[in-house]
Symmetry: C2
Subunit: 216 residues, 2 copies
């Protein structure tokens, strides 16, 4: 038996997940690029963050592939482009749902600083941990606002709230987990002598606990 060459599935016609993210939004209604950018920032940013710059290029590729159409419109002298999904686009979207998704990845520079904290001072470590905690509580506040808006009577897509409820719940739990962890970590390091000297802190006990939790 050969050892695992399952070659990373090479997506739907070679299109990126970003393409399908935008196609997904286009399946709800037509948008201008600017609106698309705002919507990505509001919702998709939580699990598929992309720079605004990208959001001006990607729809052009969708049009080139026949998954969307572009209509040039005007607001006075100012031109704008409105994108609309095609039947081919809807079909591609459905098929994309069947393909295995890429593995989750996250970039967390602050954890890099925690991991290499022994190159600096205990004060630096405490500052980094506090910043992590702040970021998490800020995001929780943002999620609260978002959820409130979604519940308002004039919210944009009432027929899709069930999916919003699923996704938002994950993000709230993630942020809660991070905030809790940061609080715990701050508590633990308060007993350390230095960033490279945990004093009497029982890290072995913590690790043993994690080893069993993770395998159970």
């Amino acid at each position: 038996m050969p050892t695992v060459p399952p070659p990373e599935p090479s997506r739907q016609g070679g299109r990126s997940a970003t393409a399908f993210a935008l196609l997904g939004l286009l399946s709800l209604r037509p948008w201008t690029t600017y609106e698309l950018a705002r919507q990505v920032r509001r919702s998709l940013n939580w699990f598929w963050p992309r720079a605004e710059r990208q959001l001006y290029d990607e729809p052009k590729r969708l049009v080139a592939g026949g998954l969307a159409t572009a209509a040039k419109e005007h607001t006075g002298m100012r031109p704008r482009t409105v994108y609309k999904i095609t039947p081919l686009g809807r079909h591609a979207l459905k098929r994309w749902l069947d393909e295995p998704a890429a593995a989750r990845t996250s970039e967390f520079e602050a954890m890099l600083k925690v991991f290499f904290a022994d190159a600096g001072s205990l004060a630096q470590l405490v500052t980094t941990l506090s910043a992590i905690q702040h970021e998490a509580t800020d995001r929780l506040a943002e999620l609260a606002v978002l959820t409130g808006q979604a519940l308002a009577a004039d919210a944009p897509f009432p027929k899709r709230l069930h999916l919003g409820a699923l996704t938002v719940r994950l993000h709230v739990e993630q942020e809660e987990a991070i905030a809790r962890w940061a609080g715990w970590a701050l508590d633990q390091v308060s007993g350390w002598k230095a960033a490279d000297d945990p004093g009497a802190w029982d890290y072995q006990g913590v690790l043993r606990d994690l080893a069993t939790r993770a395998s159970g």
Copy 2:
């Protein structure tokens, strides 16, 4: 008075966080690029994933900036490069710890599929949720192995285990949170009529609950 030009702090001499990730490893001991790549895969991959390709280019930039030195060695005919941190490199690493870290971001394509699940079938949604759950439990198993290895008597950096304990604990809790969420989500959708029709499911109740949790 001008409005907000606090220009994003433009990292330590314009170097990327990836540069400091490798510099952090080099602060522990000298490594060859290949070893560096393996170590990044084993540890940093959890919070700072980078492709192997990148890890062959980045050390060259460190050398160009005087933060590391490169020594050409040989294993028989096969050449290899060993990188070593310089005093300037250690200094830069310390100063990097003082700068605010970039915001956390995560790419989670499967959640994109959950969010746009109403473009497809309920079966597709269930498959996606199961895959998410599997990925989380796989990672928990991986973390258990890693933790076990770290506790072994001949583990590589015994003086740094306290930092490992902090970081691993976050990852375990994150994966647990995702696995729990996926289980809950599978349970909820089992009562749905279709991906675009949640039947009698009380998503409003879920959202109201989240709104208060997130703001509390």
